[in-house]
């Protein structure tokens, strides 16, 4: 029987150099793997692989040296442990994320929750070429948002509460952008300079800041054969539904404009960035469809 490698690849089985062996890519969302899943993965790697796993550059797990004839048994064994295969090829890939506000003191947004939501909406969706989402919780950018086709970076919009402030001046010191100034005991924030990092608010000893979480988006990052930093189009997005509308618009632009096997960045350059800008701004302004 002929082996359909494209179908296997779509199902996460990556053909190895070694004849009839595959490195099986697993589905991991936001870099989270449960202890139960690890047990199942361990057992499969021991029984069907060579007793080890490979950690990919995008928070994935692969089990190398799975034999062609074992593929169905491997899938069944993994499914029992709540593990499913990942994807390769021209589709939406693993959604990567840092630990975010749930765990990290610097986190501005709930990255895990967002990664799951993005995964439910987009993971595996068929496209002209691969498409990568990355979610990072703050300006420290541990997850390297701009190297993704669509990068999402958490931030907070801050507002100063005069009644709680004792004018210590720490927020102005903490700000790396020179956006906070204090005159006669009153704090002023220059919104043109603010990068939404939240250092002023998180460091405030008086809790004299209120924060509203949101997202900074970058489009068209590449970090392979060609290296390009994704760039922003719209300002800080505070509404999650708006974020999804923008993601929908970007994917739709890619689907409608890309040649087969053309990365998002190349499509943007070929058809003109203003075309993507227009689509993204429409979504930002709630004018889609």
């Amino acid at each position: 029987m002929a082996v359909d490698y494209a179908v296997l690849k779509k199902g996460g089985f990556m053909r190895q150099k070694q004849k009839n062996h595959f490195s099986l890519r697993l589905s991991v969302v936001g870099g989270q793997v449960t202890a139960e899943q690890l047990v199942a993965i361990t057992e499969v790697a021991k029984k069907f692989g060579r007793g080890y796993i490979h950690l990919t550059s995008r928070q994935g797990i692969e089990i190398p040296f799975i034999r062609l004839e074992d593929i169905d048994s491997v899938k069944a064994a993994l499914a029992e442990g709540g593990v499913s295969p990942g994807v390769c090829g021209p589709r939406v890939r693993t959604i990567t994320a840092c630990q975010g506000a749930a765990v990290c003191p610097n986190g501005c947004i709930e990255t895990e929750e967002l990664a799951r939501e993005l995964n439910d909406r987009y993971f595996g969706q068929e496209l002209p070429h691969k498409f990568k989402f990355g979610v990072t919780g703050c300006q420290n950018n541990c997850l390297k948002a701009e190297e993704n086709d669509l990068g999402i970076k958490g931030g907070v919009r801050v507002s100063w509460k005069a009644d709680k402030c004792f004018a210590c001046g720490l927020c102005a010191k903490l700000c790396r952008e020179g956006a906070v100034s204090i005159h006669d005991g009153k704090v002023a924030i220059d919104s043109g300079k603010c990068n939404y990092c939240g250092r002023c608010a998180f460091g405030c000893p008086a809790d004299a800041y209120e924060t509203a979480p949101g997202y900074l988006l970058s489009f068209g990052g590449l970090f392979g054969n060609r290296i390009q930093k994704g760039s922003p189009i719209v300002p800080f997005v505070e509404d999650k539904e708006k974020l999804f509308a923008i993601c929908d618009a970007a994917l739709q632009f890619f689907r409608e404009n890309a040649n087969p096997s053309e990365r998002f960045r190349s499509t943007i350059e070929r058809v003109g960035k203003e075309k993507l800008d227009e689509a993204v701004w429409k979504a930002y302004n709630g004018e889609t469809k």
Partner: protein, 81 residues
Amino acid sequence: MAYIKADERLDITDVVCPVTFVKTKVALEEMEEGQILQVHLNDGEPVQNVPRSVKDEGHRILKLEENDDGTYELFIRKVGE
């Protein structure tokens, strides 16, 4: 804000991070709930990090004052045992 009377005083201008915070934490541990600790600290990393770390531990920062020589006085009310 009115004058704050401290129960204990601590000088951390002779150490660097993270010892600055460690000394502050140890001083607070030896105090009673509700007592006030006055910490004398340097500009730069100490003033950028110590108040936040103290706040994250659950204590209440009452005041942060800048001295004429660029050092700071941080007033902390101990919260919890």
